[in-house]
Symmetry: D2
Subunit: 376 residues, 4 copies
């Protein structure tokens, strides 16, 4: 089912940009877990636009309302957790033009071929980035469950246009590099608590904001990349082949609008490497086998190796741009020129940071519940 | 389930490297389709080692035996299609050392954490690249069904070490570039029929063979990348979000051993692009809307756009290398040095070409059966 | 997943008796279907208590609020349809006793073994019959889609205690018996529109009401049975074996609280029959093969035969009774005597009639969408 | 998928009556379990025809060949277990007549509407009772895993025509009735080891054999019923609603050819009972809550209560009878008279006994793995 993912932890996303509400249902959460609603709201705020200087000023009140799945003490009770976010502040004005003239880079035309006129085109319908809000509700809860189990997740904008951030220190797996990684994660967390642009290096963040501002001034947009890491996942989580850790992450990540690429560990660089460089040799640490490097990105044969899970994803430039674009009038079958109106976020990378964290949290918690280490 | 994928076309892979057999079950194939067993065998031969000069000389008789799902005339009869490949020629000699000392880059250690001593370590068990043979059986049948529906799929080795092939002419979507793409696909097909290295440019293929030979001489291995394309898929196939075309491809591709990265269309390059560059504007062609460029790789919001589906995947260097590697003895908990014996393929990229085609064929046929265009 | 069912039409039920809301998400509905909200409300009213003389006077406002899945014209738009019913009028008073002393015939004890104290015991939690309201929302929409395709569904209370109703004329499949069946279905529909007890024979309904009244006076309850039929389903719908029509109905029916038995067509009577009696021979009708009798209940090998789909299900007496019952104090581990307080429906059979119709509608629509006749 | 069932333990059945082989794939078995192949064969022999006096003399060598999923010591290794049974001894003679003239009571006509001429009609194809052999392979392995966990399963023929066997002493749950139940199960086991008809009371078995013989002499067949019980399942296994114990059993049971009814515990009798009779009150036994009676058949709200799981299923008379039957020629669209040739089992009840046990074992093991008690 297109709007559902997960094996033991099954998440269903519903709603459209302008329907009365959007939301999610999570089935398979461990019972007896107390959901911290304030922490969840703080996590949601990181995704919401209008909370910071570099994104669209439209304010969405992304306040999730949990309507099922908790007992009277606010603990998960073993049944599906359902959460709703009202769609207030929608201006479903005139979508007739968009219905006629598909926007380049958007799913309008593909959806028209799929559903014809019954597609809910208002605000992008089910394809809207707004649908990442319920993903973050589910992911925010998964993050809390994982935190209790010792797993910590962080992400940053690693690239916007030609501007790049310092990478996570996670391709190495020595004790000192793990320590540096933890510091990077702390830096990111405290920066985001202060509402800063989510980079490890503040200078890179400043540079990225300038790249975005330039694109905005040109009525254009710009793409970016996100790097995401999880520490503390024990070895032996996940399954071989098609429901392994890489595949589980991929299934969710490629369901995030605008994502066009995904790589784990050394990623595409492996194509240019030799085995003797790429293989992560093992050493003993506290009597336990431990990979010394982490080119594998923490996953061997779909199963966690004990090293950090590390991935990078590329997000394309926001397709809604003010510049004139060529398109086609679906009704008259004539060429048309499109001017996308309204104020759009010229770069979604910063907002994609908590979304990437949510995706990784959901994939890892699901893998852990469905395919735990035998020794656990 | 780790060894299963698909929505309307469900594929289950079973067996281990040294179990009596490996195989697959496909449920959901259209009924009444005549499977061409000779064409299937020719497709299987492209994956098998020992059929060409650049891979390991061990000969596997990858002759699939279809034991269920066909009627007396060799047509699919509406019930699951089951195929078996015998594991002959296995030398399950002494696996005690491998059981004790996990090979870097392999899933040995992760599997030990997952299953302890019950893991079938012989020949890599369920993680073996041998398990891509039943994937190719399923994919080879999907390719035949798609061919009848006008879809054509091809792949080539786009990179080995620093050597690169000419790319598919598929980021552009003009009539002339589509024509060039078809010529590239024809070139690849005829070259492979002659047993050549699967590149578009023969010089690139020659260069790659040299890179591989050098790695072999050094008792080392080398990584690579595969580019894969499908033409002829109508617009409107696939579903939004988590079961869209990108996600369906990703689920299968990340289940192929050694894959560490996947990108569609412009892929990771989108991070450096502007919206005005990346958006694929529409024009009319034969009265139908058609994207002029194909940075989207044929998928918008998980749904096909009518342009070629295009992806690239990175495969890591073969982890089995002759050079000494550091590891750990799981029984004695002491450091150990490992020498992987036996003759291994120093680069799996060439053999991964039909595997990538199989993966794309299965993802596209499944998407088409599960989520067809409404107008069809 | 326990709260989910269906293959191509996937339904997820969420919420507990006293959570803020209950609801359902349906994924896989055909797009472009206009949902008639008034007709849906009329269907919901047939399930709700307090709308008639013979059930509990507690009034529930079962007004479904569709928050996602419809476009601006109220048509299904291809994305998940999500509906909510608020849980107003809940008195979550003192559930401490029920938490300590499980009620016989309820799931209290089983849920305690499963989830311990995290189970939401208020009002029966996820096990409450209230959760059949979202099932009826989903089923009511499925009924509308099926109606447009020519399928009609009806059910009646066939037994309460020793009182029995006239059965559906559906074990025979002659033109005249089909005509009589249609008259029975008309009678039921108009009777229910007038708020009558759902029997074909009004005298049987009167007798059943007396049996229920007697049980109520005795602070006891009484069981019943429902018979349900669908006409107009073409031959060839459904799949063989485990996802066939019988299995799909069974999966939903055994998820309805209180159901302890299910039979199709001649049902348990087949145990005493000979093949020559039970086989439904074929004859030509309008040039088409047609079974003359319908002992198969419309399903052969999991696939529809063209004859009416016919099933019967048994519902146990309401476990909540005023009479003293023996139980156990889970905290003190001592015997305890339980008096279930509050006003409970002494027989759920009448309310189960629309639930049975909803279950059949969902199973048939799902089967049709997932496994249509090849010739269609 | 029609040929697949299960949640955490997923079973796929493949093959047709006359395809080269039939088989099953089981994914999700606990790893490290040693499969006893001899015990499995003994279990298979109980289903096979030709092993006893009362069934068809055709001998099938139902020797399962496990081709994947075991390690070198014969233990499950965490990957899918795949088993094959060759279809030797098939006489795919002339099926042209059957293809033209569907047999009453068989799926021939329904399959023709579904798949037209591509259906594999030879020997009944995928609908053949032969496909219960791989179900028994999977179930026989599940029985071994359950046995190790303290669960024991038995079934008997409870009815053939008007002849009835003594029922299991399982509606009561006192220590003495549980003891009597165990004796009944011992009796059944030893009787079946001696090749006797599977009844608790040998006189009932003798009577049933006469009923069957009479039907055979008349070239007719006769129906029957099976009662099946499991002891030793802890309380708290299973999930609420649609994936509960009743639903999981139902999904498999209604996939067994010829089954037309299923009831748990008091079953259809609940329709005539009062709550005070039907509710199973609790008492303390060894400090643990225990239902005193077992009208619930061991399942409350889909979750096990600790009492025996008890169900009954009705199997229709074998549709293949020698008597002349009316049918229709699908090619000429004219009435036709059918004489089913060949020797067929006039009653499948005895062979359905191990099939019922297999179905229950698979449903319970799956429920246990997917939804274990929280306290375990």
């Amino acid at each position: 089912m297109p709007s559902t993912f997960g094996t033991a932890l099954r998440v269903q996303i519903f709603g459209q940009s302008h329907s009365p509400a959007i939301g999610c249902v999570m089935e398979g959460l461990p019972s007896g877990f107390h959901v911290d609603l304030q922490e969840l709201q703080r996590f949601m705020d990181r995704r919401a636009p209008g909370h910071n200087a570099w994104s669209t000023p439209r304010k969405e009140a992304d306040a999730p309302n949990i309507v099922g799945g908790l007992n009277e003490r606010g603990e998960t009770c073993g049944t599906p957790l359902a959460a709703l976010i009202r769609n207030a502040n929608v201006r479903s004005g005139d979508y007739d033009e968009i219905r006629r003239v598909p926007r380049p880079g958007h799913a309008d035309y593909a959806a028209w071929e799929k559903w014809g006129n019954s597609h809910d085109i208002r605000g992008g319908g089910h394809f809207s980035a707004r649908l990442t809000a319920p993903l973050c509700v589910a992911g925010g809860i998964a993050l809390q469950v994982l935190k209790e189990r010792g797993v910590r997740i962080a992400a940053h904008v690693s690239q916007v246009g030609q501007a790049v951030d310092e990478p996570f220190c996670a391709l190495d797996n020595t004790p000192s590099s793990l320590q540096k990684l933890r510091r990077q994660m702390d830096t990111l967390r405290s920066g985001q608590d202060r509402g800063e642009f989510p980079t490890i290096d503040p200078n890179a963040g400043e540079e990225m904001r300038q790249v975005i501002d330039l694109a905005r001034q040109d009525q254009d947009s710009v793409g970016g990349a996100i790097e995401c890491v999880a520490t503390g996942l024990p070895a032996g989580v996940g399954g071989p082949r098609y429901d392994g850790i890489q595949g589980s992450v991929a299934r969710i990540v490629f369901g995030i609008p605008a994502v066009k690429g995904l790589e784990f560990g050394a990623g595409f660089a492996v194509a240019g490497m030799r085995g003797s460089q790429n293989n992560d040799s093992f050493e003993l640490r506290d009597g336990k086998p431990c990979p010394r490097t982490n080119n594998a990105g923490g996953s061997l044969g779909g199963i966690s190796s004990g090293a950090p899970i590390l991935f990078r994803m590329a997000v394309k430039p926001t397709p809604s741009i003010g510049l004139a674009q060529d398109s086609v009038d679906l009704v008259s079958s004539e060429p048309a020129t499109l001017h996308v109106r309204g104020r759009h976020d010229p770069c979604v990378a910063a907002r994609a940071v908590p979304i990437a964290e949510a995706a990784l949290a959901l994939a890892l918690l699901d893998s852990w519940l469905a395919y735990p280490p035998a020794k656990a």
